[in-house]
Symmetry: C2
Subunit: 254 residues, 2 copies
């Protein structure tokens, strides 16, 4: 039974929150994942809870990058599995990317719950389980550096939605092209990734699937042009400006 | 054992977070409380993780208001009990305010855990337990309107740290003077309260205790002047401007 009063003005955001709380109850989400969701909510609120023009540009660049990749891998954590398991599996099929479960707070039981959820939502092969072989990324402390030797370790393009800054940096140092979803345009993850989609993943993932489908008909040169026209630093600045404008409007500052 | 790598650039914020996670493990904090903490973290980050001049003004006004109150009550929820139990008890003694446990997501077991924590930290009498009599605040849905008949119900000044907008509005409608701690200067709670301290409660509570001690030597007229000079709407705007300036600086926007 939902505890959210229907009269509450933030009912929509509270319902997404409930998905995550359910994910927590089902062993997918870590306690720290609930906190991370809270941080995301605050930034989403400041961004106006809609997909900005800047985010749409990042989504187009991300779709192009995924379509051009030789060996794309999508890293899945507990929050993603709780929020949009169906869409993440759909995206992986659309762009022929492998799925790898990779957790910040590693925990085998939670990993298995995530794998189960992904399978229930149509995933065939899932890397990062105890039955696959692992390798270590250099330059990051022990618990968090383990990646699948047939997945992230050999990937050229990695999608890391809702990722930690340290790990994003380790992936870049390992030579990967990194695509991330991050609602904080100032985070280290946002600044470190090649393409940062500053949007709520529950909104942006559907748009990324649609764009990937649309752009799959384009030739390589067109896709490369979209990527080279994309400037992540400028895009992040545009998102910060968006937040500033929203603050001005809401606080009615002259 | 702490899972936080010491090398992490946000170790301090992560350690506060861990207090809350411990509070969750000890039955003080609701899952929704973890999410709320995450939202607070985001705003604290945007505010520069320090007490602003505007926040300091609000703290002075709050101290004056508490010292002038005939029947002040401090409402305690799970997050407060997890983050700063010792200080909240100290504040209640300093300004002779009653303590009342009052939860957004009501739960008798959690309530008892909070009462136990407050007692362990020196609290004598705690209202809002099942042994005290309750009354209902008008204008708010059922589960959340229950208050203690010897506490919030008859209080003239109520401190509601980390409160929900609906309840803050119900308290105002019931004629209470409301003091709150809220890191989001745009929230309904912030806008509805008489005095909003836009600061991390773990920093601001110590300052509020110090100011209450200092100002306790002043006469009534001086305290009244401090309160009448305080403009909550202007104070909130100053905090929004602070966030905007921090965004400009961090994003290096010209």
């Amino acid at each position: 039974m939902s505890l959210i009063p229907k009269s509450h003005p933030r009912a929509k955001s509270l319902l997404i929150r409930e998905k995550l709380v359910d994910g927590f109850d089902n062993g997918l989400v870590a306690k720290e994942g609930l906190l991370a969701q809270g941080r995301g909510e605050a930034f989403d609120y400041l961004l106006g809870e809609k997909t900005s023009k800047a985010a749409m540009q990042a989504i187009r660049a991300a779709a192009s990058q995924l379509l051009l990749a030789e060996m794309p891998v999508i890293s899945v954590n507990g929050n993603i599995a709780a929020l949009c398991p169906k869409q993440i599996v759909r995206l992986s099929k659309q762009v022929k990317a492998k799925l790898e479960v990779n957790l910040f707070y590693s925990n085998e039981k939670r990993k298995q719950a995530i794998i189960k959820t992904l399978k229930k939502n149509g995933a065939k092969e899932i890397l990062g389980s105890k039955n696959t072989s692992s390798k270590k990324l250099p330059g990051i402390d022990s618990a968090r550096r383990i990646v699948d030797k047939d997945g992230i370790f050999v990937a050229d393009v990695v999608v890391v939605p809702l990722e930690d800054g340290d790990r994003t940096m380790a992936l870049r140092r390992a030579g990967k092209t990194v695509i991330t979803f991050d609602l904080n345009p100032l985070s280290r993850t946002s600044e470190t990734a090649n393409i940062t989609i500053v949007d709520n993943v529950t909104r942006a993932i559907d748009l990324l699937i649609i764009e990937s489908k649309k752009l799959s008909k384009k030739n390589q040169k067109t896709l490369q042009k979209i990527i080279s026209d994309f400037d992540n630093k400028k895009n992040l600045r545009d998102n910060v400006i968006q937040i500033k404008n929203n603050l001005t409007r809401r606080a009615k500052i002259a």
